[in-house]
Symmetry: C2
Subunit: 223 residues, 2 copies
Amino acid sequence: MEIRVVRDVLEKNRRVAWKVRERCRRDRHSLLNLMSAPGSGKTSLLEKLIPLLVARGLRPAVIEGDVETTNDSERLAPLGIPVAHVCTGRLGGACHIPANVILAALDEFRPGEADCVIIENVGNLVCPAEVDTGADADLVMVSVTEGEDKPLKYPMAFRRAALALVSKADLAAAAGCDLGLLEANIRAVNPDLPVLRVSVRDGSGLEDLAGRVEALHRRALGA
Amino acid sequence: MEIRVVRDVLEKNRRVAWKVRERCRRDRHSLLNLMSAPGSGKTSLLEKLIPLLVARGLRPAVIEGDVETTNDSERLAPLGIPVAHVCTGRLGGACHIPANVILAALDEFRPGEADCVIIENVGNLVCPAEVDTGADADLVMVSVTEGEDKPLKYPMAFRRAALALVSKADLAAAAGCDLGLLEANIRAVNPDLPVLRVSVRDGSGLEDLAGRVEALHRRALGA
């Protein structure tokens, strides 16, 4: 009985996700969805990535998802880009951003002001991976401090992603993380998934990441 | 409409959670629920905590929740205690352990073989905090590598917990974590919540933790 209800909701969400995709094509912008556990460093990454995307001629915007607080949007404010904040706690304590909320968030942007919209999903490796936002591509991130087994234990996000990021790479030695094992576990779940090590602290991998995000953006626009 | 459905499911779960509590009292064991984000170190903590509880004369058992894999139960096997494993992915990709699954997991233990059952919930700071397992007390853990703001952004688990743990305390300096700020943010969400720093690597805080777990256990049994 409960499973039937969940299936209905997910099926309805899937239909709305396709409306999101149609709308993104009509408005000529890409939509990328960044997922990770809480504290893997999504907002810190965006603070560094956004200026690199701007330098490449893109006009990024961000949809920020948080259960509570607008802390993350406030952190992005100095970047001067459009940010739409979604407080999922007001949607009934939601642990992810469903497609209908993405539709509403896109209304917050003025027509044409952004050509690359990035969703920072709620910090959660389970539910966001089950609920299609309507994004053109998903990025999944895991930090070196979370343990090498996380891709095996939370495989869904890694299965659907177009790019995996290993964050806080500068902390690998201090955290005792075997980077080779972590990346082998990502490949065990999804052999075709490109994996990129990044560090917001020392800047490594960020320019490479900007290039890959630009490529995903161009692929979404068919350019 | 969808919100009404979610409320129905949560209301039904709440009734089952009280059945869990009645059963725990009948079978004369406590039930504690450990929650954190993925990779905060729940399993590593249990590997060190269980022997300390045994040394105090308790007979612990563990209900292990994972979306996929039985890795965590395999890690606990050398401890020689009863472990019941819940693969929530087979329940429809579930991001938490509902009370009816706890009831089923308790059936896996022989009558009287455990007096302190610990749930290692799915790594997720959102859904497990919304869905009552039927536990007598909740423990919430956050690692120093996740950022000081996590209690503010994921407050629900901290609001309902009886004890908060700050894990990987030995990594605080390397991760650039301001422990005072992290703990102030926990108190901002729940001023009465005791906070304990622990490190599985250097052992700090673990004996203190065992004492607090024993106290929660005794309180649940009314002893």
